[in-house]
Symmetry: C3
Subunit: 304 residues, 3 copies
């Protein structure tokens, strides 16, 4: 039995197959619309994440399966003191696969050691969020037609943004990748990623502070939200949150086929007048998130 | 693509068709039981409204479709600061139609300007609640066999009660309608409805304070809840809430075929010993609410 | 129309049939996988109980039906002051059967007097929880092959534990049953159960304080959680909660085929190193809970 806890659990070969499966689902929806009949996903969301939860639920429903679970700790009885281990053994009697969101790092990993059914990490604290990474990869592939030979800019909160860290690790496995890390110095990408992931693999990167000066060289621009909850004080948050906003003006220097990604929700990192630009791929990214979760569910349930 | 934001969005002709469709659904349930297979409704309830939410969910399930969403802002991640515009663009990737309840007036209208799928206003603050109006109209039609030539009494909170305002506007489009507005002077129907809706159309109405003295002339008695949350202070609420209670005694003067409606929930505006009276139509009204939502979903999804 | 409010509502003969139906469901899942197509269960949980709610939902989904409802009072609009009577009349328009969990004793009974559809009591305060009793009985039957001629130990909180009281009453109807009540003196089984249930029926029992000294004579050991919310002060809770913990050492004196049950959630009443012992039946008990609820839903909907 397989789980998905860390984005790096999936080899490049497996990832290729998963993305191909997602593409096949997109092209032949009818073929898959009943494949999970009689199967159930449990969405155990110990903290609310409406977007991610609904994406999992929509994915299962579009495969013909059904859904149960809870959307926040307050509407569940987890306060009764039950361990994660017991909870997944119980829920494993009710569902065929579990998507777990938890504020504590490592909770889904612990769950996977006891669960009778596959566990999907739907985000654990500031740690991993592997289905977001799968979403990003499918979107890059669909927008650019390839996962190699790309110059990828990542902009905003590169320190706390787990989706950034996972995407850098995942893309590091492909040839011809260059990274441009664009952030204020307070929110720079952690040095362990440079020293342990990029340097050993000989992957070129730059650390810069200006989005405007660097946008023209990018094939992909991955914008991130500056999350209030990651800051220790309000003053730092207010000072930095508007620093790296993408708008029409900055976009005029970008390549005509640059792809703009954002894991959402956005607050104001991307001006809304960018939304109609054909390069804005962040709402297509949401749709891809559903499709790649459909592929993942099928793989973990061994239905393909 | 059509949305339903304001009850008056629907013309009399469209309304007739919608009510006929609801009647056909009631008579031929099996014909419609799989028509929404593979379709999903998202119930985005930014404030709880169990009755309305379950009515939408039951409607979609009885059409063979499925359901996802959230039942209160606290169990969703809307606190992350995402705009309504972005939320509906995201949820539009997961569902085929969205029913939105929101404490802020205008939120569903705003949503409809950006949504890739039809939006149904499931109540926005004290503003509109169009599916309640559809429910009322279907119930009047089923109980009386017509929508014209009726004397309609509306009783209780006519100032804040949005269902009353919408029903008055909707019924004003039919011939031979008379209104009797029964309320304390603090909760009278807003003058704009009299001056802008009824007077120009030459529709007769009375404003009275006694339910007892006026009940005998009514074909329809629409009771309303005096909602605590609409009052500025507790004393006013306590003084007024019990003023207009319908009981067996008052009912003895009513026509033998008068129809009693109430949008529910009731607190004590209707004594429970009225429930068994054949004129009490408020639980049948609930059932009609489900059927008219089924018809509406089919129309908006263009499946009929 | 039948409801299930109190475990003793079901006669021994009906119970036998229900358990046989559950066994048939276990053996022939496919035969039942579409039997509730078009049917809906409403889970009205006025207090959270994730395990019970998900068990009902999984049961209905595995019968091919669907689910709606709410998981806590805070995400529902019950605060608007609607009575239980009105709520079930409304929800009875949306669902074919209702599972109700309520903090107040008697709420499901009241509901059943007004509901147009069958009501299942999913736990009312410290009162009844009949589907847990059905779960326990199916598990005993599957583990031991019989419901008679058993020595049953009940350990822990026998005073407040409603599942214990219901199980004692239910098992008292079979021949050759002996009870061993193992608890601190503060948490002894209520005397009315001894005097009104066991004594009149001539059923032998012992009241003891040591688990270790009595485990060897048991065919069934039913462990219970010492629930914090049942105590009047924290000191009593802390002193007593760890008193009766089952671990590998104590288990060495038990019969090789003793069955260990627990209604879950456990906190630490059973050491986790007991989980792999073949006598530990509490996770199988969860699975049986789903199956017996499937059987119950079929019976109440008169589909078998």
């Amino acid at each position: 039995m397989r789980h998905l806890i860390d984005p790096m659990d999936i080899s490049v070969e497996e990832l290729d197959k998963l993305l191909m499966l997602a593409l096949d689902i997109i092209d032949h929806k009818d073929k898959y619309s009943d494949i999970c009949k009689g199967k159930k996903i449990a969405t155990l969301f110990y903290e609310p994440s409406t977007r991610t939860r609904l994406s999992f639920e929509a994915a299962m429903l579009e495969l013909g399966g059904s859904v149960l679970g809870f959307s926040s700790a307050s509407s569940s009885s987890v306060s009764k003191g039950e361990s994660i281990e017991d909870t997944v053994r119980v829920v494993g009697c009710f569902a065929d696969v579990i998507a777990m969101r938890h504020p504590n790092e490592g909770a889904p990993m612990l769950a996977s050691m006891y669960s009778p059914v596959p566990i999907i990490n739907a985000g654990d604290g500031g740690h991993n969020h592997p289905t977001q990474t799968l979403t990003d990869l499918l979107t890059i592939f669909r927008e650019k037609g390839r996962l190699d030979n790309l110059t990828i800019g990542l902009c905003g909160d590169l320190k706390f943004g787990r989706t950034v860290h996972s995407l850098v690790k995942a893309m590091s496995r492909y040839k011809g990748i260059k990274f441009v890390f664009i952030s204020p110095k307070e929110l720079k990408i952690p040095s362990y990623i440079l020293q342990e992931v990029l340097d050993p693999a000989g992957i070129p990167y730059e650390e810069v502070t200006s989005l405007e000066d660097n946008i023209s060289k990018l094939d992909i621009l991955y914008m991130t939200r500056v999350q209030r909850e990651r800051f220790f004080n309000e003053a730092d948050y207010v000072r930095l949150k508007d620093t790296y906003i993408l708008d029409k003006a900055k976009l005029s220097d970008a390549k005509p086929d640059m792809t703009i990604l954002h894991p959402l929700p956005r607050v104001n990192e991307i001006a809304t007048n960018v939304d109609d630009d054909p390069r804005a791929a962040y709402f297509r990214q949401v749709m891809n998130g559903k499709y790649v979760r459909m592929a993942l569910i099928l793989k973990l349930l061994e239905l393909v």
